[in-house]
Subunit: 633 residues, 3 copies
């Protein structure tokens, strides 16, 4: 696999006579790819039905003539203002019933048929014009589905579509009532047309109702994307991708990804640390200008799975951003580190967002590789350094990690619908497990929840899977490595109901979770092997071997054959200990790394990354803050 | 009085062939009563006007045949979905103007005449069918009035009813304008039809306006309940009750209770600690699995007063619940402790919620006496132990406590409408006083605000009564014990106005509160006798004897005859000291108990309860954590 | 200049036979002015078109006959209820789309033409009746524009007016699109009628859109006030004023003030400390009963500038208020201290709010100079003491301070629209700078942002001016003192765009801010000269001399000629050091004062104020807590 650098560029933001110089400077920095077009609907179709392709034709000419490969986006995340005159009801509606109006982006409801037809029309028009243009080496559909909380819409269009979806799922109101348990609180429906969206109820709605709305909403995103994919495929042979946003779990990225060729995601390490990671103030201060040391890696591995091996970083933070609560600048070297980390996890391309900082509109405080006055911003030199370093490196072949972690979007919805503890969150738990494994120097692969074979992995991590799929249950049945499973595993059946026999009901394991407890911050229960249980604990019984208990001897961790069940949320100390023990048993090296150091193996090299603020020694080599090192394996 | 145990049961949730076994297991656990029916409207009347009594007849048969006494609830808290087709405007509206929709429970506005007629119709139908059935030993109206903040509704129906209510109260707009002081800010009305509900005003509405809306809203609940009571009385001689929810003060429980025969309440000690008690993190961690040691006792005493001596716990937490921010499990023994504590306070019946944990819908994470797979949950054995212990105990006669505390719902509304300090809350203050008394080993009675005779009590506690009733003023005039009164006592006249002469204007006491201060957290002013003043302090003058002052000598506590006035909110140390001194003066023993220990006397026994996590010694006896002990008096 | 005391009085709240005694007691306390009428529309015009002047005539008679000078307010902040029958759509609408309803005050949208006409009508009526009455010595327009967040309205009237305003500003949609950068995210408009208000957008709206809405909204206030001024001027020669509210920055007070003769403001030191100052809990506890030692002074200097030398305190807190989160009472002496501080800053009149505490309606917990029972409240004696002291003092002439600070409302809007860090606030920053200067014993003048001559000031402080005006740039060009400029200075051009060349682009200074960083709480970067940078830091380059750096040597403070640029937000230590150094260089004494002590020079005297809780020594004199001292200069 060849690795390359790219950049996001908005020719429509700049005078046309600046384009050639911009393109030349990209190339001279070692950038070979450029993403364009994804917000340009208003330029392409300034009036309804009146197309202006000229500027885009010329932009592609200039960029391609400079030697750049073009990635072209469909512009459906930003319908122009005139669209609202045609479809006044196309806007999404928030959970309190307020429309989400024009004036920024993503102002559409996925369920609105009229807008979907318009999106098909512009996709078709772009595909016809550029689909067979060899200079376009990939297409991006829309932009960051779900960003700004845009998956769930409580609009009339969504209501109507949800009723239809339910009718197809359940076929009769009686079947729905049974599945949801609507005998409870006299909630039964006589007709699908009586069912509302699960917002504004007096107290919480039926979790089955809320969960089905989450499933429905995710499928609306999948269908919207599939519509674009279907059109594009008829006109182009170029690979298709979508740029997912970090920690966006409101729709099933595996399902969207199944229709695409390449997964890509938008990596903003410092923005994410400030905006969307549960961590202590100390942690946030320590990694202020580096970003969390595991957040990006987790996403890299996730999108490698979503892309079935092929994945990019479509937007890479190059300096301070504008959208987090606080927006410090990266430590010198971090842009290079982040880029190399992506490549170490198997990225084909890392594309910086954006070329030149815009002096106007919403993102004017978002850094680019150039300052607004066109002078070099610090990211540019770091990108250029990576480009140079890349040339000296061999191509890489895909490889497999020794340890796998199973990730499931539906579990994120299940635990949002029914957290049972105010700070229980699926992604948060997964990141804790992933972090513990990384602190042991492990490389991981991420697996989707319908994986039917685990035999390639010596150790498998499975925290919090609400419902185990049939293939996964089968895979566990024959699994001979070591799987760390739980808590809350297999705790939900259809309709978000508690299954009887009680969870986890794992193949061959006589173990029952009879009761669960959520624990407030500050409560930590010692685990007999070391570390503590926080946030969540379960009451276990059954014939499985008890490995660890609480201080009173109540079982917390049990084992039967290949399966170890964790009846609680272990803290970092305990997780590291448990994962290390599993690895040791399976002959995988797993030794705690110095603070801030992380490793990742490709097929050919071991990479080391220092996320810390001070130098750290790795294999006799001193890595400065933000330092990257590698050696051949 | 005989004491008994009961359980809440939903036959409609389970296959009919499971009912006999369920009933038999209840009986064998020592449970003699079962509450049913209160959410079953959709089962009883699946289509408008089409009644299905068969299943309920059979359920009563099965339960009664097993020897269980049935408590039957009217199902008006959960009108079926078809009700909304008949009355689309029956929903309550929240303070921001959004309807509170179908999909959970309590989705009705108390002021909606159409729904009220429907509620009368179903009550009449149930009363006709079962009113003379001797197996039904009590009726419950509706379920947890006010739960989920459902007393206040800003609907068109509420607006119309409020205007009518005001017209009857004031007879003329001029009278209302005078009473409210609408000369202020040119707020006068020319007609009752110009008056709106006190929501969405630019800044705070007139407190008189807001307070009248609170009074009106409370009376709507009273009227709704009275409607059901009137119907039931025509058909049954069985006692009537309602199950009040803990710390629900939005309507006057004394007024609802006056129409009923028995008061009952729903006791969730661990849920309440997490969800609705102001306490330090330390306190919440210490009592994580026990619940606050005074919260239940306060409610027990309150509902003994509301029920004029007759009261039950209608729902007793049996394990972890689902609705609090965090939901840990009870310490082993706590279910027994809570049950015995209720009996020690005079409960006739303690009914566990619920029999078997439901595997579906909103409360599937709420424990029962059985796990969802029908195996025994820990609460069952504790209930059975209490049943056995009860048999060995004599019946008890009502008794009177030596100390009384006056509780007044209207004061809760007054101080919510006009807190003057952001964290000032009436219930919070009452719980502080009650706690201090309990820490001294005292048993208390609670008195309603219109009590006209205090002579049975050596010590009376009267914190924060916004307006002293005429009977209470008369009672104080002749009182010869010791009353601790204040702060904010008698500070409001009609229309929430400040009376002149200024408060507290107590009989025979020359004392004036000229100014008041609210104090932020962290500010504590030393009281000359020990302890501090927090949250609230007053400036006192007058000829009353000054008992205590602040560090600068400004008066804070004054006395004249039987009355001691507290010009501030004493902390726990000071409250204990002041109450102990009053008791000592009156010859009542009042000695601080060890942490977590609480006592309660019945007519025949003294009970001791260890709410702590570690053993504690009481009268030479070691009580383990969650321990209960008693001795004859 | 003569100095006088006044009081706010509501004759309509009291029986007419009480007026003469009230007036006599005012006079005997040394009060010579009385403000009336500003909420009395409902009394003056009880029915539409039916005027009742009698009571007001008689009130003026009584007050004037007692020797009091009358300040008369237009009552447009409290339109009566009947107004809404005439103009149902006159209400403002909040950012979530909810109307802000009748039942308190300020229930009107500034953009509603119908209400504006009504306000003109009542103003005209009052002006005709009393404009030539010599007993009215000043007029107040409306009351506290902007209070309760009433400048921004999202009503249909505001939408329509905003579109018209934009059409006049930009003349064509194309020009607006260019100015706003609407090429971004395809946000271009084809017509002004397509533009919405910047609320309820999916993510943040274009900052240019939001900022123009702020400018528009401010101008609506200016126009509303100008309408009243125009009418009043035709009928009266008395000076006109408006009473601004503390820390109200949603409209341009300089622009409103330009139409008036006198500025006045409403000073609530203890309410402000609790309600609207960012400070540590320690600071808030330390100044609990004194108020922040710099908040009032800053406003005094600001309104001296807004009034072009003539200014009053129209409402002075006399005791505890009712509207802050917590409402403690002033330390004895503080009412006197606050009053003298206003005079030391050049106030002509200090008017207490209010005469007698009202026993009814919203402000019944707000102290007056009398308690509700008409007895003296503590503030009365302190006011009387000031009156006595005033007599012994000479008249004062205006004077000029040696140090100036530039204050700009548009910068407050710019940084609210685009804070870039969650806790970045313009007013907060200005108060930090002002505080540091005051801690050095300095007296300051405040200058508007269009100042064209700085030569009268040896030192000028200019924090955070989003855009430097042409006159200010010219003034800086020729300035020979020492100007401390930055951070974020001149960082915005038209349309909130980042200017190129990049900021600060100061005259004669080769310095560029290439990147900025916002820093979360707890992050502080050492400054080489001492102290730290918090909240905000910038990356500087250019040929200007570097005065100070961070620990790594990166420039943070630069100088060229008279200009020192601060590339960050210095903490109090650093600010004091930097301001002291500038003063020392310019020959101005600037020595740190003891904690809580503050100084202020008039033309004739130096005043000292002890805001602390303990005595402090100043020039050999011991000032007790709340002490005031002065000596001739
Ligand atoms: Zn096609
Ligand atoms: Zn709303
Ligand atoms: Zn005129």
């Amino acid at each position: 696999m060849k690795r390359s650098l790219g950049v996001c560029y908005y020719p429509e933001h700049w005078p046309e006579d600046q384009w050639p110089d911009d393109a030349a400077r990209m190339v001279s920095a070692g950038i070979s790819r450029v993403r364009i077009g994804e917000f340009a609907w208003g330029l392409i179709e300034p009036k309804p039905g009146v197309m202006d392709w000229g500027w885009l034709d010329r932009a592609i000419d200039v960029l391609a003539d400079a030697g750049l490969e073009v990635i072209l986006g469909t512009p459906t995340a930003t319908p122009p203002r005139w669209m609202l005159d045609r479809h006044p009801d196309m806007l999404a509606v928030d959970a309190t019933g307020h429309p989400r109006r024009f004036g920024s982006r993503r102002h559409y409801c996925f369920s609105h048929a009229g807008y979907r037809a318009e999106a098909a029309r512009i996709t078709e028009a772009m595909a016809r014009r550029y689909g067979r243009d060899g200079r376009i080496i990939a297409w991006q559909t829309d932009n960051e589905y779900g960003c700004h909380d845009t998956v769930l819409s409580y609009s009339p269009a969504a209501l109507s579509a949800f009723r239809n979806w339910l009718a197809q799922q359940y076929q009769s109101p009686e079947a729905l009532n049974r599945a949801w348990g609507n005998v409870f609180w006299s909630m039964a429906y006589d007709s699908f047309d009586q069912i509302g969206l699960p917002n504004l109820t007096v107290t919480e709605p039926n979790p089955a109702h809320a969960f089905d709305f989450r499933r429905f909403s995710s499928e609306q995103v999948v269908a919207f994307n599939r519509m674009q994919v279907g059109i594009l495929r008829r006109h182009t042979a170029a690979p298709l991708t979508h740029n997912y946003m970090g920690r966006e779990v409101a729709f099933d990225h595996f399902a969207v990804g199944a229709d695409l060729d390449i997964a890509s995601w938008d990596s903003y390490p410092i923005g994410f640390l400030s905006d969307r990671i549960e961590a202590s103030d100390n942690h946030k201060r320590h990694y202020l200008r580096q970003g969390d040391p595991d957040m990006q890696a987790l996403h890299h591995d996730l999108y490698r799975a979503v892309g079935r091996g092929r994945w990019w970083v479509m937007e890479q933070q190059p300096g301070p951003v504008n959208w987090a609560p606080w927006n410090p600048a990266p430590l010198p070297g971090m842009v290079r580190l982040w880029t190399w980390e992506a490549f170490a996890h198997g990225a084909e391309t890392v594309t910086y967002f954006r070329w030149r900082q815009a002096p106007f509109a919403q993102e004017q405080m978002h850094a680019g590789l150039l300052f607004p006055d066109s002078s070099d911003a610090p990211g540019l030199a770091e990108a250029a350094q990576v480009a140079t370093e890349l040339k000296a490196m061999p191509d890489v072949a895909p490889t497999r990690a020794p340890v796998a972690l199973v990730f499931d979007y539906a579990s994120a919805w299940a635990w949002q619908v029914q957290p049972q503890g105010a700070d229980f969150d699926y992604f948060r738990m997964v990141l804790c497990w992933y972090r513990a494994a990384r602190e042991l120097g492990l490389s991981l692969d991420i697996l989707p929840p319908d994986t039917n074979d685990l035999s390639d992995y010596a150790v498998v991590l499975m925290p919090g899977l609400a419902q185990l799929s049939a293939p996964m249950l089968a895979a566990l049945e024959s699994y001979e490595g070591r799987a760390l499973v739980g808590p809350r595993s297999n705790a939900k059946g259809a309709g978000m109901a508690t299954p009887v026999p009680l969870p986890p009901n794992l193949p061959g394991m006589d173990l029952r979770v009879s009761a669960v407890e959520s624990l407030p911050p500050g409560v930590a229960e010692p685990l007999s092997g070391g570390g503590t249980i926080v946030h969540w604990r379960e009451h276990l019984d059954g014939a499985a071997d008890i490995l660890e208990t609480d201080a009173a001897g109540a079982p917390l961790i049990a084992r039967m054959g290949a399966l170890t069940y964790l009846g609680g949320w272990p803290d970092d100390t305990a997780l590291r200990r448990l994962i290390a023990a599993a690895c040791t048993e399976q002959g995988i090296a797993a030794d705690p790394l110095p603070d801030g150091l992380r490793l990742r193996d490709t097929g050919s090299h071991r990479f080391a990354f220092n996320y810390g603020k001070t130098p750290v020694t790795w294999e006799g080599q001193v890595l400065p803050a933000a330092g990257v090192a590698w050696r051949a394996l």
